[in-house]
Symmetry: C2
Amino acid sequence: MQLTKNNLQEKQTHIYDAIVVGGGAGGLSAGIYLQRYLLSSLIIDKGKARSFWMQELHNYLGLPSDTPGRVLLQRGKEHYASLDGDFLNGFVEEVRDEGETFAVLVKVGRQKSIQAVFRAKYLIAASGIIDYLPPLDDLRNVYEYAGYNLHVCMVCDGYEMTDKKCGFFAGSEAAIEEMVFNLSWFTAYITIFTHGAFAVNEALKEKLRNHGYPLIETPIKQFLGQNHQMTGVELADGKIIELETGLISMGSCYHNTYLKEMNLELKGGNLVTDKMCRTSHPRIFAIGDLKVGLNQVIIAAGDGALAATGIWREIRRTRGARLWSKNLLKEQVED
Amino acid sequence: MQLTKNNLQEKQTHIYDAIVVGGGAGGLSAGIYLQRYLLSSLIIDKGKARSFWMQELHNYLGLPSDTPGRVLLQRGKEHYASLDGDFLNGFVEEVRDEGETFAVLVKVGRQKSIQAVFRAKYLIAASGIIDYLPPLDDLRNVYEYAGYNLHVCMVCDGYEMTDKKCGFFAGSEAAIEEMVFNLSWFTAYITIFTHGAFAVNEALKEKLRNHGYPLIETPIKQFLGQNHQMTGVELADGKIIELETGLISMGSCYHNTYLKEMNLELKGGNLVTDKMCRTSHPRIFAIGDLKVGLNQVIIAAGDGALAATGIWREIRRTRGARLWSKNLLKEQVED
């Protein structure tokens, strides 16, 4: 059921088999599997998963390639609800390991918010990544194009940028080094924008020149375009650069601060997991963008199945096999 | 494009970036990703992937829980075709490693079949598992119920069997040992059928008795029911056992004979892979049910994304970054 400020009291005494932090593709898939394994689960979602911003999912097997990410999320939420899973909109502030259970502290409600505590035997961390967007004065302007022809993920949308005049909006020198030369797999017509926010070293400048990629350090005034189709940018000095597509790489952060006390093993910021998505803590699983791997919706969904199955196997082993109830057995024998 | 006996001649001189053996969920997802990475790919499908038999996919994020497996496959095939991937109905008989490329020998056509040879830099083995069904005289009878309330996968459909009178149709002693006591997670009302095809040792018999699970060794004459709903079985001696659901575990085999010469690392019959689904051969990837892991459609689809990305990264590194064409650059500078 959907938990709200009004009905969450009774659930605070319940011990869930698993609490899933994050209601994106990974968390919803985990929830669907958990409920189908007859386990009790609670998904706590802060809202607006990364895939919420995807205007078109182009590479998710089984969905038409213009399916918005939010449609996938909505369907997943309905699917999970149909299996009687509990869902709460809230922000997980802290997780405490109590030995047999975890206590999960949640802030519920934006206004007059209250704090609630839920408990579970297992935790699935599925809270993913939060992307930074360009620090422009007029942020509304970015949202008009982001997810349409102004892309956030090269792996997801490189195909849509093929051989187009592409603006690469970088948040750091490292982003230029890491991304631009790979982006050239899809298009060689790349113009790099720093927005004047950081310096670019001379060696990198020369490398860009040698590849023929213009570097523009003048701040951006605004994106240009209409009907969600970005056609270029206007710089602070009034100059207009025409573009057909763009890739934003302003950086991102992992939404995993609530796990800080757990001291989980990390690799480059990502949680290290085994083949079943179990972290270095035996009762904490991590799925999707939080863990080491490839950040793709279909992979996060598969991860959810793995983590839920890992938890089910362990709980199942603990309980052991059930006996056929004597009465029913008698009836069967007499047949 | 769809290749046929009539148009496959020209493609036999082409070197694909990757050939995918198997057009199930894993193979189609890999194909979609490969094409979107601007790589050339060919999927070779023998037809009727395991998911083809699933009447209802209950746990695939984004699809209504009554979506037939064949609908997922059909959509995937259309998606792949829309990206100009090549698809061939055929049976892969052998793969030869030629150093830089693989030669893939395919039998095309059931009648008047011809042999064709295709070449690729990389191979993705996605040919999965073939399930055995019970060796009954009247096999049609099984197909009327298989995939409806007569299930093949406990992980997929355990939920549908919850607390129902369930027939477990075993193909071996080992299947009983491995499955029955786990199946009791979902229902304790289990009757085991051996069809008289193998002996059950005394210790196992006693264990079943202690759990209250009847063991029936009399051969089965036929499944009973109507409208795809199995209601029981009739035994050879005329006795009728009423059931509400069933699980078939008659065994299965990996469809990987074409890889025999490659001497890939195996673990219990499954191919061992790394996190990107690469086998012990650097240019062969394995995805879905062939590899070590959990046999689930959503996981196979995620595997396809991983393998395709692994191949793309390697080919991309080999080619290096592209330069902005001089003319276009000049035009841009003059702007």
